[in-house]
Symmetry: C2
Subunit: 244 residues, 2 copies
DNA sequence: CGGTTCAGGTTTGTATATAATTTGGAAAGG
DNA sequence: CCTTTCCAAATTATATACAAACCTGAACCG
């Protein structure tokens, strides 16, 4: 039943454990240890380590095995930064390549969600529309490779987001409410055919999501200096400069 | 002596064969076939396929093996586009984080190379400075992950560049001559602390390299429409818009 | 104290066996 | 003739055992 997906499962479990802080940075991951931990043989483990190395989560030294790379607030921010760069470019390029009726449908649904009362269903719909919009933009950006990279990062991001969701905080809910408005601004810019404004709206959306992630995943004191705020500000100043 | 690097070798050989057009798009790559072709056992092959999947060169379907993804002018352009996006962001962020004496040394060497006569040594120096500058910018961009992604793409790009070099054309030499001037403009902007100008210079540099690659790697008729020129123009119009 | 050597443990590669799954085509039915 | 169903061969995915190369760390020697 899960034949042919063991490697994938192992990758997901290791990523989860990494994000939960189960592994220390610099720790060596021995294949036999992992095999026993996850209840599979060493073959899928070895392949999973190659994949994790490609994701930049472990370093694979020849003849020396895998060591886990540092993972903390800084790395979460780096991931969000990459996501911002990739998705903004995709948004800029997707502008004009999405049919008006598709945008109209999205705009309609988003508007309804903004006015609708919060509920379990509302939360699920918000999540669904988030995926829909981001995937639509990636799919239509005209660069399959860019779409591929975005999908690579959405894997990481989704795990982070779910980890945050588990520690439901007031801020998380607040952030989810804002999400629909931020998405709406992106869609409206796309409708208007204004690529730069759409990209800026996307940058703003991802920057705000990054800040929320920082606050929810890590205790305040863990956050060095004010990395996250700096990220947001620099993002906004870029916007301001372009908007003239 | 080869121990611990077979997977890496297989990846390099498959990439080379892909770029040489040995494999058709959509073709299934059976592990046993590849094992025989490259003279290794199936384990390194499978691991190499996982890595190639991460590079986006093959698609890995569960229980169905690997199929090669399309590779042609469009894909080369996509690679260059990604490279442009990543390196421009790195350049913008690296601005102000590179010591003046390092920049001065680079500026000096570039200036000398521009004035120097062409020779085998000159060509080697040009290549060396190219790596030095791009690596320096990636290293100092303040985002390890961004640096990691750039390095991933430099692997692909370097193989493409070497493939072009094998088919030495007049255009290739001409393009290499321009390279030093383009690099110089990047360095000068960094010296001036002008992040946007540095990023724009980098965008221009990579766009021109992309166009040269297109013309050297593929016969004119193979190039659908005028993809490459479009890329260059859109890149320049973006620059123009930002420069106002 | 610094460098060398050596043994143990780990990774990497090879070989083989088994289970699960896909695939392609043949047979059956409409 | 076309569609569906089903089976068998091919292939992938996993497990396991083992040999060889290599790193690490510690004892050892100068």
């Amino acid at each position: 039943m899960n034949h042919g997906k063991k490697r994938h499962n192992v990758v997901a479990e290791v990523v989860g454990d990494l994000f939960k802080g189960e592994f220390q940075a610099g720790q060596r991951l021995r294949v036999e240890f992992l095999a026993q931990r996850y209840g599979v043989s060493v073959t899928p483990i070895r392949e999973a380590l190659v994949e994790l190395s490609g994701l930049g989560l472990v370093e694979l030294k020849p003849n020396c095995g895998a060591v886990v790379r540092p993972f903390g607030p800084r790395q979460v921010l780096d991931i969000c930064h990459l996501r911002q760069v990739l998705e903004c470019e995709a948004t800029r390029n997707a502008c004009g390549r999405i049919a008006p009726f598709e945008l109209a449908a999205l705009e309609d649904e988003l508007q309804k969600l903004i006015d609708a009362p919060r509920s379990r269903q509302w939360s699920a719909d918000t999540k669904r529309l988030d995926s829909t919009l981001h995937e639509l933009i990636a799919e239509r950006c005209g660069n399959e490779r860019l779409a591929h990279e975005i999908s690579r990062y959405s894997v990481l991001y989704r795990i982070l987001r779910d980890a945050r969701h588990r520690r439901r905080t007031a801020r998380a809910n607040y952030s989810q409410m804002e999400e629909n408005s931020e998405h709406l601004r992106v869609v409206q810019a796309l409708v208007a055919g204004d690529a730069e404004r759409a990209s800026d709206a996307m940058a703003d959306h991802i920057a705000k999501a990054a800040v929320a992630l920082q606050h929810d995943l890590f205790a305040k004191k863990e956050i060095e200096a004010d990395l996250a705020e700096t990220f947001l500000e620099s993002s906004q100043s870029t916007l301001a400069a372009v908007a003239k």
